[in-house]
Symmetry: C2
């Protein structure tokens, strides 16, 4: 089964890719190896060799190893996973760091949800055990729970709040529905679940029950597990409900959560104050079918077989009791390094978290196994005498599910070093979920990712097209330059700290399209994955292959293939989005409608354009000169390229969120689902203040000054 | 309750309305009345007086009289309704014609639907009797049935065909689903139910079961009856499944269905050959929840709480037995005439059918009572000495539900007279269903209907806006001339024969917006209507008032207020639609994309434009001259205006549908839902033949020749 489809590696595509020419004509310094060194392969030869070594049986075995037991952070399964990961990396001969950290976690102790009236009925808080899916009766599975729920028992009437977004609660208020003292029912979707809690609390709710709606995740989408891949009536989406203005351990913002770190008081951390419980739709139905209040707005109707109501009315009462302990617990990141030969301090990090709410066959292990397989393949290449110029770090993060904790603790423990010499971060959380390649990425990484996808064959294409060609067909890019449409990175997984706090060029790479969702349920196990995504591991091979191609380029090309010019175009696109948003809010009422970008951004747009054009000229010149560069100059250029993107960092951070240092990208403030690009400007627009906008624009002038200083330095180095 | 809201009648609005000026300054010939004639009111004064007389209590009493018993065509209730209508009109002192006709009707005898496997279960074919709705237990209610179903008993596996459209059956074939010998389940919606039968037969189905989906008509839309107005799980939509290339009695196409008329053989009439049965979603669920075949396409998913499947598989069998008798039965139109004083042969017809599948409180009586109330109000005005210049005909059609039979028999019995002097037809079937005025109308009637709506106050507008203003806000028109958007008339109700066979200027006027649907169910009764639409009869008063304003203008203005110029603009709009459709079919592949209208239509478009501009000049001149016109000229002009629209008739009819004589409008050929405008051209486009298109274009040249001859005549009369 191994290598057949992906073994045909394609030649380089000249995209905008000045670096291809640069690297192919350069012979870098040889790595010092103990055995006599074979001739150094070119990066393309190396990519072909690495991709050819990716192995479906290996991926399946890795999957067996990491996704057979439940392993949420701080559990016995977590401890076992950490040990196994460390041992596995050690056996590969990598430098292994087990970075333990002590974070405030939550542990489920007891929960009850009961319909009290019109009749008494205990509602199920656990998935059905299915004979077709033996893991679903695993004795160490936790019932459905939301980490960091308050511990309390409440009884009250019920209110339905649709997705529980800011807008949904505003609509309830407009309709005169009082949530005070009520138990709010909200369905999953529309925002990050933590915001459902935040807004329910703000509306005075006594408790919150979050359910999976069959229209969104069940029969409205496809056949249910175990016949199909979608949720069944017992499926419960677990998950954290933290919404803090920083990621990482709730008690050590900005600091590594060592055992004896200085900590803020838990009461100051802004944790949820009401009990929260996730349920499946069978349980939701048992409550909602009794609701008799006014009908909900048309857009709030879900898939249950009755009209949804805003309130249950006085005859429907529900009792919710949640007991969790919040305590500081130890878990760890397991990080393995393949040291680079030429600039070992410069590191390309690929990572995925390892903790999982249940088995994690999809989340995170569909990505974790790609990290592990990439480590195996690179280690074998090293054994055969190939060492990359720069270091490659294979990172398995702990406690991501609780609040992106492990990766942030790692970043916080070495922020200055990362800012100085971190090359890039590629996140593979839950990456192999189908054959449709997709990525969100910093502008500087878009070219190298496109090239990497072009180096790999699309498994399900009869004509041997590349993964890039298939990707372009699905998602043509906005700039007509042979690159697909990339998403914008904000929060959501372990790339978040790299992007918003450390300012590293980052990407979240994945391949999706499998028809089903087991997300955070007891069914996120190997039986589900192998039936729904496939037991051929084509998806994981595809993702691993692209990852290998990208790491080869990033770690081994003579010039670091980050594209510093691309910020010009991409930031202009974001200014258009900001203009649209500002107009929608009536902020640019008297603006000239003819231009796509509002005049308030004119100077910034001009500077971005000029900067982008200048850097394009400089990088073109660099490409022409690359063969003739002496090593000292080349290494100086690389050091500059690696640091380049930190020009977007501002130590003051975003207004109200000082931990968010990047002025280029952030998570949004009200849903957790969207990325805010040029976030200080976006914040001022959301505040609907032109004065604030002008104030924040000054900070972007400073960013441009720093970018121009980079360009000056590059100009000097390429003179 | 009477008259308060509508009593304030608004002054004339100068729309494009050249006729307003014309009529106000003209004193027509006085009608010969027995008593000394009071001073003749102007049409605006008359409108005000008539509108003021519309009475909610009268409407409610009329509703009680016509919607208390089930009265499908050919039933005892039908007979009683006919007698009551005739007596009522006679009591108003109108000339009453009870036109009996003998049509091929269908009568339900017995039906059974049974789930045979995986378990035996008889499925309900009748609505639940509800204590909140006493009529629902009426002993003379028929079970749910589809008229003209074949009589047969079949047992088979099941196939789900979504809405059973042409495209849906094509998709089934593409997916390799064999319907032969199967019982097809299709949901209501997407097309006229008769086409579901036609396509199921064509696919080889053994039988067809049509169900109401809760997503389309139940909880997907709102609360169910009796709490809300929408369908409940037992609601069954009855209805005919005829799809013939003509309307009227199936056995006497083109001829009046007198008792001894020549008839075609019933076997030649193309009636359905498979049994067909409508059901509610409770019954549908009992079958569909057992289906285990491949899942249906995403767009086919309805509201039942499971994933919809394409097939039941071999373990699901259903038995369907339908017994109906098809026989020639007598029913009648009841038609009352208020003779005009000046040109009694010229008639303005307002009508609604009177037959109903059950009680018909909404369909048709929400419109029928408006016809009756208008007759009452006009009769009272006549009693007070006001007689319109032209005749007004109040028509209550029989057997519309079976295939638009009564109105077509009436038309066929006097086609030459109607073509010579029929002024207009206004259809009010099921018209009063809310306060949102809406109309489909021939171009020549759009101006007079806009003026009529402007003469009436919108009941729910706090600022006393006119019904026209509210209408314009909801549906601004395409021509920026102060008129709202009008729908295009094709088939669907009793206007059909007037439009497509007799070529009369026609309109379907209604006011909608009530939240609910009882369409063709046992719940279409007074309890439902008064709870869902309202017991204040504001809707019926609004519709009646606009109808009175329109009939006043059409029957009593000195110059007939038909606008012959408007066909120019409207037909150009249809040419744009045809261009879009032709391009979608790849017919105009090498066409110049810059123009909205394809070059193949260039000559016709030019002639239409020139004709429209010429007629506008002529009617402007007419408006300026109107005060000075002698009666002879005026009457000659009126006779010309009345006949004008017959220029669009072509005795050869449409290709394959010779009974469809109008080259301006027709029902479509594949769904029964849409209107085909410029239908001979549309037909050629659907045939995807440029040759046929060019051939048909020649017929439109002839239409333009006839229209130009009209214009020549008008020019001579206004010289």
């Amino acid at each position: 089964m191994s290598g057949r489809i992906l073994s045909s590696v394609r030649g380089p595509l000249v995209l905008a890719a000045l670096f291809v020419a640069a690297c192919q004509s350069t012979n870098g310094t040889e790595a010092p190896v103990t055995a006599p060194a074979p001739p150094r392969p070119t990066p393309d030869e190396l990519t072909a060799r690495l991709v050819d070594d990716v192995d479906a049986l290996s991926l399946a075995a890795l999957h067996d190893a990491v996704a057979t037991e439940p392993h949420p952070a701080g559990s016995p399964g977590d401890e076992a996973t950490i040990e196994w990961l460390a041992r596995t990396f050690e056996e590969l001969g990598l430098e292994v760091e087990v970075q333990y950290f002590w974070a405030l976690l939550a542990f489920p102790e007891h929960a009850e949800l009961e319909l009290v009236s019109p009749q008494r009925l205990r509602l199920p808080l656990m998935e059905d055990a299915l004979p077709e899916d033996p893991s679903s009766s695993h004795p160490r599975l936790d019932p459905g729970w939301n980490a960091y729920s308050a511990s309390a028992e409440v009884t009250g009437e019920v209110v339905y709040a649709n997705y529980g977004t800011l807008e949904d609660f505003a609509e309830l208020e407009r309709l005169g529905i009082d949530c005070r003292g009520k138990i709010v029912l909200a369905r999953y979707g529309g925002n990050f679940r933590g915001y459902k809690v935040e807004y329910a609390e703000a509306a005075g709710a006594a408790g919150l029950v979050i359910f999976t709606d069959p229209r969104d995740s069940g029969w409205g989408q496809g056949l249910s597990w175990p016949e199909g891949g979608f949720a069944n009536g017992s499926s419960i989406q677990r998950g954290t409900v933290l919404t803090l203005p920083y990621y990482g351990d709730p008690l050590t913002p900005g600091r590594e959560a060592t055992e004896d770190a200085e900590r803020i008081d838990v009461s100051a951390a802004g944790l949820p104050t009401i009990p929260v419980q996730p349920i499946g739709w069978d349980a939701a139905r048992s409550i909602m079918e009794h609701m008799a209040g006014p009908e909900a707005p048309q857009a709030w109707q879900g898939g249950l077989p009755f009209r949804y109501r805003l309130t249950g009315g006085p005859h429907v009462h529900v009792r919710l009791a949640v007991q969790q302990s919040r305590r500081i617990a130890r878990t760890a990141n397991v990080v393995a390094t393949l040291r680079g030969s030429e600039a070992p301090e410069q590191c390309v990090v690929i990572g995925s978290h390892h903790d999982a709410w249940t088995f994690g066959a999809a989340d995170p292990c569909a990505g974790l196994i790609c990290v592990l397989e990439a480590a195996r393949v690179w280690s074998r290449a090293r054994d055969q005498g190939v060492t990359p110029r720069r270091s490659i770090v294979f990172a398995c993060w702990g406690a991501e599910e609780y609040g992106i904790i492990g990766s942030v603790e790692w970043i916080e423990s070495r922020l200055a070093r990362l800012e100085e010499s971190g090359v890039a971060y590629v996140n593979l959380d839950m990456a192999a979920m189908g054959l449709e390649v997709n990525a969100s990425a910093s502008p500087s990484l878009q070219s190298v990712l496109s090239r990497a996808a072009n180096a790999v064959v699309q498994p399900d294409d009869a004509n041997g097209a590349s993964a890039l060609e298939a990707w372009l067909t699905r998602a043509p890019g906005p700039h007509a330059d042979g690159m697909p449409a990339f998403g914008d990175l904000g929060g959501g997984s372990d790339h978040a700290g790299f992007v918003v706090h450390a300012g590293l060029p980052s990407a979240a790479l994945s391949a999706g399209g499998a028809r089903g969702v087991s997300y955070h349920t007891a069914y996120d196990d190997l039986a589900w994955y192998r039936r729904v995504v496939g037991d051929d591991y084509d998806s994981a091979r595809l993702v691993t292959a692209i990852t290998l191609a990208a790491t080869t380029a990033l770690a081994d090309e003579a010039l670091v293939p980050l594209d510093p010019a691309r910020f010009g175009r991409e930031a202009l696109r974001h200014l258009e989005t900001l203009t649209t948003r500002g107009r929608a809010l009536g902020l640019f009422a008297d603006a000239d409608d003819s231009g796509a970008i509002d005049p308030v951004f004119a100077k910034l747009a001009q500077r971005l354009t000029q900067h982008g054009e200048r850097v394009e000229r400089l990088t073109s010149r660099l490409a022409n000169q690359s063969a003739a560069l002496d090593d000292e100059t080349r290494l100086a250029i690389n050091a500059l390229l690696v640091r380049w993107e930190r020009a977007w960092l501002d130590d003051a951070g975003l207004p109200g969120r000082p931990w968010f240092k990047s002025l280029y990208a952030a998570a949004d403030e009200t849903s957790g689902y969207a990325a805010w690009m040029l976030p200080a400007l976006r914040w001022a627009i959301e505040e609907q203040s032109n004065d604030l906008l002008v104030e924040q624009l000054a900070r972007y002038d400073a960013v441009l000054d720093r970018l121009e200083a980079n360009a000056d330095a590059l100009a000097r180095l390429t003179e």
